[in-house]
Symmetry: C2
Subunit: 152 residues, 2 copies
DNA sequence: TACTGATAGTCAGCATACTGAGCAACATCA
DNA sequence: TGATGTTGCTCAGTATGCTGACTATCAGTA
């Protein structure tokens, strides 16, 4: 009988669980209330102003039905704006507000600190190796989830 | 500006996302409807008959508020039974039913196949190394989530 | 131009996860 | 025994993720 600790799926869940907890703790201590998912969306919108929801979802591998709620919450917090596209009346163009940009600047140290904390059991070399292996496994499995990563 | 791919937190989320999708696909193809979370709970109850919910939660690092729903669904499917404990009237003792045991036997190949598929981009050696690094990072961060792993 | 298929977004419903609160039962100690 | 603190479990509320269905719109073609 295999132990849970021999199951990559179980380890994936556990590592993700810790990663989220660390992120929320660090960002919360900095005085902000942003989830990892909201942060990634916000940062990606800032890097790609005016992109639509489907493109955003592809860039961070979110399901299109999930992104709706994330966008709603970011908009409600005043961090982004959602405008109808002029070229395609189905699409909505996303833009980070000034407050969104300010928030991003302010929480960056907390976000980076969180990334360090979740790897604190590993040496720098091991941390790099873990990320390399995760990237490789993810690349091979990209099409297996409903929300694969998509290039812009 | 750091890329998402340099964030262990993002990689964790993505790997977990793929792991769940692969698990559901494999188990679904085998004709069963069990989530990874339900599977881990079921297997752990079978290995520790009569354990209570808090102990179960500790063994698989689930939050105690999450386990309630998982147990409900397993019981509703007829895979486990929940009895009041005679020693502690607050506690409920969990037991796998015969159908639960049969189900566990039947889906084991699908579960193992899923674990292989989610590592298919890696060599055997790389897969082992990924698991080792995940275990190490998880051990160091165990206490950082609300639902840490606990020994029996 | 009318038809057909694809695409952008949303919604309902279900299953994790978590926060925080609450109740019942237990354990300990004055 | 009685007060106090702890523990097992549940519930309400919020935030991902997913399945599947639906509307509005677009794009290509007959």
């Amino acid at each position: 009988m295999k132990d849970n600790n021999d199951m990559p799926g179980h380890l994936a869940r556990r590592f993700q669980q810790i990663a989220v907890a660390v992120f929320l703790a660090e960002v919360g201590e900095a005085g902000y209330d942003l989830t990892p998912v909201q942060y990634a969306a916000l940062a990606t919108i800032k890097a790609n102003p005016g992109l639509d929801q489907v493109t955003l979802a592809g860039l961070i591998a979110y399901d299109r039905t999930t992104i709706t709620g994330v966008i709603d919450r970011l908009a409600q917090k005043g961090l982004i704006e959602r405008r109808a596209s002029s070229r395609d009346r189905r699409a909505r163009e996303l833009e980070v507000t000034d407050e969104g940009k300010r928030t991003l600047r302010k929480i960056t140290p907390a976000v980076e600190s969180a990334q360090r904390i979740m790897l604190r059991g590993l040496s720098a070399k091991e941390g790099d190796e873990l990320m390399r292996l995760l990237r490789k496994a993810i690349a091979a499995g990209n099409e297996l989830s409903r929300a694969p990563l998509r290039e812009a």
